[in-house]
């Protein structure tokens, strides 16, 4: 499947098979989750990042099934480059109506960056100016977990984390995704 036809597929699924909800509802709901976590964890932003990632992971585990059902993708991605293309053009398009740019491939084709020109989760947001949040909080960290969880269900162990964020005053919002390994079908460890 070519890159252009993936873009068409993403567009079509978004138009015909996705239930839409109000963008501000999403933004505010996600915002309350993050703000509440910050409050509950007493400004321990490293822990907030971790919790967001964990929530995302649990979303990803389920979301992949919904993704496969709606997108009707039949064939497997041939390589990691295809996977990146599908994540951006079909995955993000279908669930958030955005198409992050793929960039910064490393030489062995196992690591790339997603550049978010727009991020519906972060509309209206200004990080608290307590001198810490700007340096420690990855506001949209849930997205990393979603990708990690979803790819794990299709036999890919990846590491995903943000390296820059517009909210922190950087020029771009960039998420780095690294393929750790393809998970072979393994027998559960204590299976007799």
């Amino acid at each position: 499947m070519s890159s252009a036809s993936r873009a068409r597929l993403g567009e079509e699924v978004w138009k015909t098979r996705t239930d839409k909800i109000n963008a501000e509802l999403v933004t505010l709901t996600y915002g309350s989750v993050v703000a509440q976590l910050c409050k509950d964890l007493d400004g321990d932003y490293a822990e907030v990042n971790k919790q967001l990632d964990k929530m995302g992971y649990n979303i990803g585990l389920r979301l992949i099934e919904d993704f496969l059902a709606k997108s009707n993708m039949q064939q497997k991605c041939a390589n990691f480059r295809d996977t990146a293309d599908v994540i951006s053009k079909v995955g993000f398009k279908m669930f958030l109506n955005i198409t992050p740019t793929i960039a910064n491939w490393n030489s062995d084709g196992k690591q790339f960056s997603l550049l978010f020109d727009e991020n519906p989760l972060a509309d209206f947001v200004e990080l608290p100016d307590d001198g810490k949040a700007q340096a420690e909080l990855w506001y949209s960290n849930m997205l990393c977990g979603v990708i990690r969880g979803a790819l794990e269900m299709v036999q890919m162990q990846v590491d995903a984390h943000f390296v820059s964020d517009l909210l922190r005053g950087h020029d771009t919002t960039e998420m780095k995704i690294t393929l750790v390994r393809y998970i072979d079908d393994e027998l559960p460890q204590d299976d007799e």
Partner: protein, 142 residues
């Protein structure tokens, strides 16, 4: 304030009559540079004048269906205009010449920006506002 060009004192008052934001600026009209030209003793008077107008606003607010209450109070040559949001946040402007329409436009813009500020999940009602975005609205209309 005779002899000086028009200056404005703008303050946002929270639901517990607490100030959230204040700014002073001069007119941008007729080649104004936006620098406030309040005399030193006038500056703290502005706060008193704004504060004393709160009682008038409470009397007026139930009598009008509009959010923009226009000029609600007058002290010597100084007017106080008020815009009351649905959430009972008061936008007050202390000024020395009456001009309802530009001030209405100014308030409408500020209200819009206030809504956006309120949408920030880390901002809570009655919290002080630090960003200086409202000055842009002043530049446009006043």
């Amino acid at each position: 304030m005779a002899g000086s060009s028009t200056s404005y004192y703008f303050v946002i008052i929270g639901t517990k009559d607490n100030p959230l934001y204040e700014a002073e600026f001069g007119t941008f009209k007729q080649g104004g540079d936006g620098v406030p030209k309040f005399r030193e003793e006038q500056r703290h008077m502005n706060q008193f004048i704004a504060h004393s107008s709160l009682d008038c606003i409470e009397d007026l607010q139930w009598a009008s269906k509009e959010m923009y209450l226009k000029a609600v109070d007058k002290f010597n040559n100084t007017w106080v205009s008020c815009f009351l949001t649905g959430g009972n946040i008061k936008l007050l402007l202390v000024h020395d010449a009456r001009s309802d329409e530009p001030i209405r436009q100014f308030f409408t813009d500020v209200y819009d920006m206030y809504c956006k500020t309120l949408m920030n999940p880390f901002y809570e009602v009655n919290m002080a506002i630090r960003s200086q975005i409202f000055k842009a609205a002043a530049k446009k209309y006043l």
